[in-house]
């Protein structure tokens, strides 16, 4: 009976070796490239990066935009958390579901949606100009600091909303009721009783958002522009790819890793200190109906959320069906971009690589999801079944999540420099980089599934004389089928939309969906970009849908 633990312990060896080489090796190369020169250790590059006023400004800008984005996400997200936690109303489920959309949307798609929706000639301005009969676009935010903040808020306010709402719903209302009985006004109750208890969740949401915005890449790359709106991640890409200086990029990457590490450490420390042991309870929603004014605000907020979340996506979908003969021509309905995408017409320019991109992305996605799910399953069962030092393993599996995908991409650029791969080799490296990036998400999906599988099933199987291997194959895997499928689709969707690492790793010949989309956006071929984007939307939608279904019935 005992030796089944050994069976599972052995299971972890393979995936650990593979993960180690997929994740630690590129990272080690980055650190070596940043800290070693001609075989000897030197901090010269890092010091000269840090004393260069340009790098200092980039660093300052990176921190500044992350701070503002976090504040904006809080401002938009907290009222939502309040509404979700306090009232029960029709459409609440819908808002909660909509709020998960940004989690599954690739960043390049969000950028495209933003340009099309908020641009001077975008959907929003066109509508406003028609309705109010204006000559000039009223909303001029694109290519400004505000645009970056807004895009980050779009991406991150749902994180605030859902983390804080979950914590809020878990708070026992007895304390508030007691305070109210003792004569405190509702405002005072909120300030002195509720908020202090919510504080840990607000802080953890804020730090998480700050981390995401600090590492933001695609949004800055497209919506930023010029040396003024450059972040550390964008500069790493610029130095590695455009300036041909991977060592300089590595030095910046080390700086970025250090800051990420400090932030994460502070976050973990704060979590431990701030978490008050309070039993989670089923929260009783307020019985009385909200006052008319409150109802109005709830409606307004819901409407805003829906418009803000769906506007850019719907703009992408609808723009993909608009054809125009010339740039000055009238807009007409057309499926020509989809015909070009499927290779039915031979288009000029970047659209000519759209079909190749679709094929490549699909193949990479399939390979990534097979690899990722296999690795994550093996690691999950050994984490759950071997019972010893499991949390260390789990933490290791989550490590890639704490590293920005630009830096993972840079690590693979350095690997590529070691043995100068062919085109085929480059695609292989991209696949491996995607696997590293998708792995933590697959692990997080599969691990709870394995945990919820009663070990008694296994014992029953052993008692009946099945070997651990056969039990694993015939009992565990079939029972985990749905979880595995969800993880596979998640990994596929992540790989399909992965832009940061792919762009930095891609030479001029590599084409994947997001890379071609980026090039199309770069040459302002929005309709084509939207056609490609719509495919990403559909895949992301599927991943989202399956994620919701899986939440509904876990094993």
């Amino acid at each position: 009976m005992k030796d089944y633990r050994r069976f599972y312990r052995q299971k972890s060896i393979g995936p650990l070796i593979i993960l180690f080489s997929l994740f630690i090796l590129p990272l080690a190369l980055t650190i070596r490239s940043g800290l070693w020169e001609e075989g000897s250790f030197t901090v010269k590059r890092i010091v000269s990066a840090l004393i260069d006023p340009y790098t200092q400004r980039i660093l300052l800008f990176t921190l500044k935009q992350a701070l503002y984005s976090t504040l904006a996400s809080l401002v938009i997200g907290l009222p939502g958390a309040y509404i979700l936690a306090t009232y029960s109303f029709r459409g609440k489920k819908l808002i909660r579901a909509l709020a998960t959309i940004p989690f599954v949307l690739p960043s390049i798609l969000v950028v495209l949606g933003f340009v099309i929706f908020f641009g001077n000639t975008g959907t929003l301005n066109t509508i406003l100009m028609k309705v109010f009969d204006l000559d000039d676009p009223p909303v001029k935010i694109l290519y400004s600091f505000a645009a970056i903040i807004l895009a980050h808020a779009f991406y991150n306010f749902p994180i605030v909303m859902s983390i804080v709402a979950t914590a809020w719903e878990g708070l026992d209302t007895k304390l508030e009721a007691a305070a109210a009985t003792l004569g405190s006004s509702p405002r005072k109750v909120l300030r002195t009783i509720t908020l202090p208890r919510l504080f840990p969740s607000i802080i953890s949401a804020a730090v998480l958002v700050f981390l995401f915005c600090f590492n933001s890449f695609a949004i800055i790359l497209v919506l930023g522009g010029g040396p003024r709106f450059t972040t550390l991640e964008v500069e790493i890409y610029r130095q590695a790819r455009m300036m041909g200086d991977p060592s300089g990029a590595s030095a910046l990457a080390i700086v970025s890793l250090l800051i990420n590490g400090i932030l994460f450490f502070g976050y973990a420390l704060g979590q431990r200190k701030l978490t008050v042991a309070e039993p989670m309870v089923e929260r009783a929603f307020e019985e009385r109906r909200p006052t008319p004014i409150r109802t109005f605000f709830i409606l307004l907020y819901s409407l805003f959320t829906i418009l803000f979340l769906l506007g850019p996506i719907l703009a992408v979908l609808s723009r993909s069906f608009i054809g125009s003969a010339s740039r000055a021509g009238e807009a007409t309905f057309s499926i020509t971009w989809y015909r070009q995408l499927l290779g039915l017409e031979r288009p000029p320019g970047h659209m000519s690589s759209a079909l190749a991109a679709l094929i490549n992305s699909t193949l990479i996605g399939v390979a990534v999801s097979i690899l990722t799910v296999t690795l994550a399953l093996l690691l999950s069962v050994s984490i759950v079944r071997r019972n010893k030092s499991s949390s260390a393993l789990e933490l290791f599996g989550m490590l890639p999540m704490m590293t920005s995908s630009v830096i993972i991409g840079l690590g693979y650029v350095l690997i590529a420099r070691l043995f100068r791969p062919s085109l085929f080799g480059t695609y292989l490296l991209i696949t491996l980089a995607h696997t590293v990036i998708a792995f933590p998400f697959a692990l997080r999906t599969i691990l709870p599934g394995v945990r919820s599988l009663p070990e008694a099933y296994l014992h029953a199987s052993y008692t009946l004389g099945f070997s651990p291997g056969k039990t694993f194959r015939t009992i565990e895997i079939p029972l985990l089928r749905r979880t595995l499928l969800t993880a596979a689709i998640f990994s596929f969707a992540l790989s399909l939309g992965e832009f940061n690492a792919t762009l930095i790793l891609s030479g001029s010949q590599v084409v994947t969906l997001p890379v071609v989309m980026y090039r199309l956006i770069g040459s302002y071929h929005f309709q084509g970009a939207c056609a490609l984007g719509s495919i990403l939307i559909i895949t992301s939608g599927l991943a989202f849908f399956l994620g919701e279904v899986a939440k509904g019935d876990s094993v």
Binding site: Q10, K11, I13, G14, P53, Y54, R57, I58, G119, N120, T121, K140, L142, Y143, G225, G226, P227, R228, T230, R238, R241, M242, M243, G244, S326, R327, A328, P348, G349, H350, M351, L355, A356, A357, I359, N360, L363, V366, A367, I370, L371, T374, L378, R420, L423, F424, Y427, L428, G469, F472, G507, S508, Q509, V511, R519, G522, S523, Y524, H525, F526
Partner: protein
Amino acid sequence: MKMHRFVLGVCITLTIAFPLFSMGTQKERPLTVYAYDSFSGDWGPGEEVVSSFEAKHGIPVRVISAGDGLEMLTKVIAEKDRPYADVVIGISDEMATKAYRADLFEPYHSPILSEIPEFLHFDPEHRLLPFDYGNFAFIIDSERIPEEDRPKSLADLTHPRFRKSLILIDPRTSSVGLGLLLWTIRIFGEEGWLDWWEAMKDQALTITDGWSSAYGLFTEGEAPIVLSYTTSPVYHYTYEGSTRYQALIFDEGHQTTIEGVGMLRSSSRKEEAKLFIDFLLGEAQLPIAMANSMYPANGNTPLSEGFAYAPKPKVSLRMASEVIEKNLDRWLHEWTEVMSR
């Protein structure tokens, strides 16, 4: 035991999946040509030039968009030990010294060189052969900038009424951006050029990485002024019948740029490469001139009527490649310093 099966499974998956990638990329290795983005972009001549070359010689050609000019050069230098390309299109005279220093290109004395006027031969060793040239200029949307408001000099562009109205291009990545940087140095001198750029921080809507983005942004209507060439209106007249977009001519003069094509030393297909270069300097001159909106280098190329809408600058400014090479890093550093402040 399970381990082996797992590793085997992974290997099988990979071996099945990866040869398929080639389906998405290429069938046989064609003559590979690097070109700056706009050459094979949506408006570029790439498609037409390549298909007529393929039809004439039966040699398959693959054009790869390798970023804007400087980015492309960086890429070629970075790939020097394991090059993908045979031919590189679009190394301008301003950045040529950098290419010579890296010893990338093999001299080629094309028989067609004699048809190209003397002043365009910027490389006496013919490692880079001129295929087109043009003058940098600002293009305006005439529907949004009335006749009387048009700027008449670089200095005029700093006027408050053009706030957030310009689309500029990064000189660290783009040869057009670099062109403007050199242009401002010629006009304002070492003492004054950075002041002009300082003022541009309020005037520019954005600074893009390459010409394609900048010009796309402009025609999308995001801003009424863009950095481009005096010849850009030719495209709009020829293909759209429109004279809405017009080039501004400044009396102080315009920076001139000559674009060259070269054959990489590392190429294993030099004969085909030579044919392609000859084609580019000969038959392809007309489509290049029209779609690329540049003056053809070959003097025998008839200019279409659209070129009537490309105003001739009164003064053409040039800067010696050696001077640029000596100072470029410092200039770019100073520029970055000012623009990021």
